[in-house]
Symmetry: C2
Subunit: 458 residues, 2 copies
């Protein structure tokens, strides 16, 4: 093991933790396209969003000019309970691979929600509380966001109503109990409790659900209940803003030891963890201060970047949310019941979509069994049991490290390890028993879903 | 929140991590009683133990004179993957309780095994590998030790065969998959695969098992398989030795900030985490350099300290292991199927037993529902979902903090938070649904089990 002077885990001091979130959009030359009203196709105004979203969060959503937004003291206090998260040098993985590459991962799983989701959950709960709301509604895929939001709501004494994608609800019964421990209510989605749920069930009987469906149900519930708003764990730019703490901490830690990464890798579902991790690095890249290869990794079962179209689309299956310009597979696309529930979203954050369209980042899709092979290898040598979502990034980090082995290059690779797989043992069991499929949607399936795009003139 | 200069989490630098384990026995005036041969009742010699245990571990087991035993470089490297563990100031819990007490916890759950067990697992696997063995056998209760040992064996390329207490095997199906992820084999105990298992099943059909049964099965298997030895996750003094890293790190972290604890609290099953946590503090207490209240917390369903007898007893139900002098409920005592599987052991580590007999520490037992109330409260404010075992310590830490609230004393309380409850959601579900019992054994039950003690003359 070389380079002993760099510790296994780089922890920042509390005083080195970020005091403001970084809003990457402020530094972008081509700004992400604005959200549009689903009826008029005109840019959404704050007022029009205020029935669904919290006021301060709408401001953050629409702000593409302020580079730094101060983190309120109450949120910084909460962050201190589980942050800074460690930046880990994967010495054992490097040794196992016999690669000259230097691999680092930013590990966001060291909190009860088990993932990075808590970074935004606590911010959103805080603003909901400040606004005097009774509670919030939301959707959850793998259950990480729902757990994080339950914790955050419990902390601020807010009611929390979670619509959980049915396939995850069934595969992860204990996730529900974690959310209940924090006092949340959890309903499998689609359900018969909402209009949109009943409609989706009528059209797709036996569906295992999708994030798009669950979002529609949660939005409907928020607008019908007095004193409630809807909050979302990914996709939106406000979430990416909050997740910038990941990238800011990572950059501070690397700078502290004079390390300059060559490649930065993250998994991408809605895009918030990736967006948060890369934000300060992408800022430098846009300002031509540095060059980095930045890679988004998505499941081949839900390949929005690599096989989707960059157009305005509905954010949800029920078509009640604003339209967003993004790489999308169509809001009617229901991905196969893969085991990376958190990556089963038909679209992609609009900021990342613009960056990808501008050639500032790459994207790659990987098959499920390859992901679990990487996950198991990683678990055995690094001693962390990774979530299937996070393991997409591990897969590509390993692939890049193996390329370095061929070429002899000592590249520095940083990837985001977003969470732990404690509630994913059903998936690991399938993998151990050789029962895991690698379903990839056909071109026809994607084309069909893309036929239902809104007709927006640009 | 007072005392802002002390961070939420105190992390040591790698250079501050212990380079040697601390062997508390070397400083004890009254040494723990020696292990006895179950046949001759004479003190066990190293040679007689070598068919069951690894050679270097036997040396450590029998050594009550060497105060510091160097941690081999390979183990220190592994420790760096997940240690130092944080010493956390429970600011949010203090605020919730409105107590003047200052509460700290040493959190050992930040690794995939989810508990402190990894500290000894990696040491035992290392010595087994050094001895050239093919593999090891063991028992596991809650599954934490089995998971830790699976990880450690996978790291050194050893085969790992785990006998898992049946009640935990059934309540925690996903634990098995974690162990399989690391390549271990897992059998519910008692099983029909061993002589002792068949005997226990004949005598107690329908038993949900106990650590005592599982130990007997694992020992039998180790002696029958070529190139295998038996390893144990608690009870033994070698395990307490390895776990001294917990206490050493805790003490270094406290000393760094000039903090002197008044009360130190740990849960006690076999005693290794408690023994490890308190070791350096107890050393000071014995040398009259400091005074600390030290409290062991055990479940009222398995109250070895508070209702057991301090005598020589069998360590296992099958009576194949050496005899140990300890607080015991009798090796035939099968505790009710409580949800703290890791605390369901009939006896207690011999060193702790001697310290308790000498009045150097206190013990208290708590009911299961009180433990889960504390667990849920803790989860909601501190953001860590605690294991039921660890929550025994939380319960008493809260009780002591509430006493401070009454008296106005600003005591400093340190407790060991040994692990996370991700695999204990079945228990939390029972608790949420009001289906959790508080079974306490009757005096008759304990008396009956204590009738089968070995007849040792002292």
């Amino acid at each position: 093991m070389s380079n002993k002077e760099i510790p296994y885990k780089i922890y920042l001091e509390e005083s080195e933790m970020p005091k403001a979130w970084y809003n990457l959009r402020a530094d972008m030359k081509n700004k992400p396209a604005p959200l549009l009203d689903p009826q008029t196709h005109q840019p959404m105004k704050a007022e029009a969003l205020s029935g669904v979203f919290c006021e301060e969060l709408i401001k953050q959503e629409l702000d593409d000019t302020t580079p730094y937004i101060e983190i309120p003291e109450a949120i910084r206090s909460f962050y201190k309970m589980y942050r800074p998260s460690p930046l880990v040098r994967a010495y054992c993985l490097e040794e196992k691979l016999q690669t000259p590459a230097k691999i680092y991962y930013k590990f966001e799983g060291n909190n009860t929600s088990g993932s990075h989701k808590l970074n935004s959950a606590i911010a959103q709960a805080y603003y909901a509380k400040e606004q005097g709301l009774k509670g919030v509604t939301t959707e959850t895929g793998a259950g990480q966001w729902g757990t994080a939001l339950s914790m955050a709501c419990s902390y601020f004494g807010l009611d929390c109503r979670v619509h959980m994608v049915k396939v995850s609800y069934e595969q992860k019964p204990f996730r529900r109990e974690v959310m209940r421990t924090y006092g949340a209510s959890v309903t499998p989605s689609p359900s018969m409790d909402t209009e949109v749920g009943r409609k989706i069930l009528a059209e797709h009987p036996g569906t295992t659900g999708s994030l798009g469906c669950a979002i529609s149900e949660a939005v409907e519930e928020a607008t019908k209940l007095d004193g409630y708003r809807y909050v979302l764990g990914s996709v939106l730019n406000q979430v990416m803003l909050h997740q910038s703490v990941i990238g800011l901490e990572t950059k501070t830690a690397l700078d502290k030891y004079g390390i300059k990464p060559d490649i930065i890798i993250g998994c991408a579902g809605g895009g918030s963890n990736l967006g948060g991790l890369i934000a300060p690095f992408m800022g430098e890249k846009i300002r031509s201060e540095a060059d980095y290869r930045i890679i988004a990794v998505e499941p081949s079962s839900c390949p929005s970047f690599t096989r989707g179209k960059y157009v305005y689309d509905y954010c949800d299956t029920g078509m009640v949310c604003p339209l967003s310009k993004m790489y999308t597979l169509g809001s009617g696309f229901i991905p196969s019941a893969s085991h990376a529930g958190g990556l089963r979203y038909h679209g992609m954050n609009s900021t990342l979509s613009q960056l990808y369209a501008d050639g500032l980042m790459e994207a790659i899709s990987v098959a499920q069994t390859e992901v679990f092979e990487a996950a198991e290898l990683f678990a055995r040598v690094e001693g962390i049991l990774p979530a299937p979502e996070s393991s997409h990034a591990i897969r590509i980090a390993i692939n890049e490290a193996m390329k370095c082995k061929e070429t002899g290059e000592e590249k520095t690779i940083v990837f985001g390890l977003t969470g732990t797989g404690y509630f994913d043992m059903y998936a690991y069991e399938k993998f151990h028993n050789g029962q895991m499929d690698n379903y990839v949607p056909t071109d026809d399936e994607i084309e069909l879903a893309l036929k239902k795009l809104p007709n927006v003139e640009e």
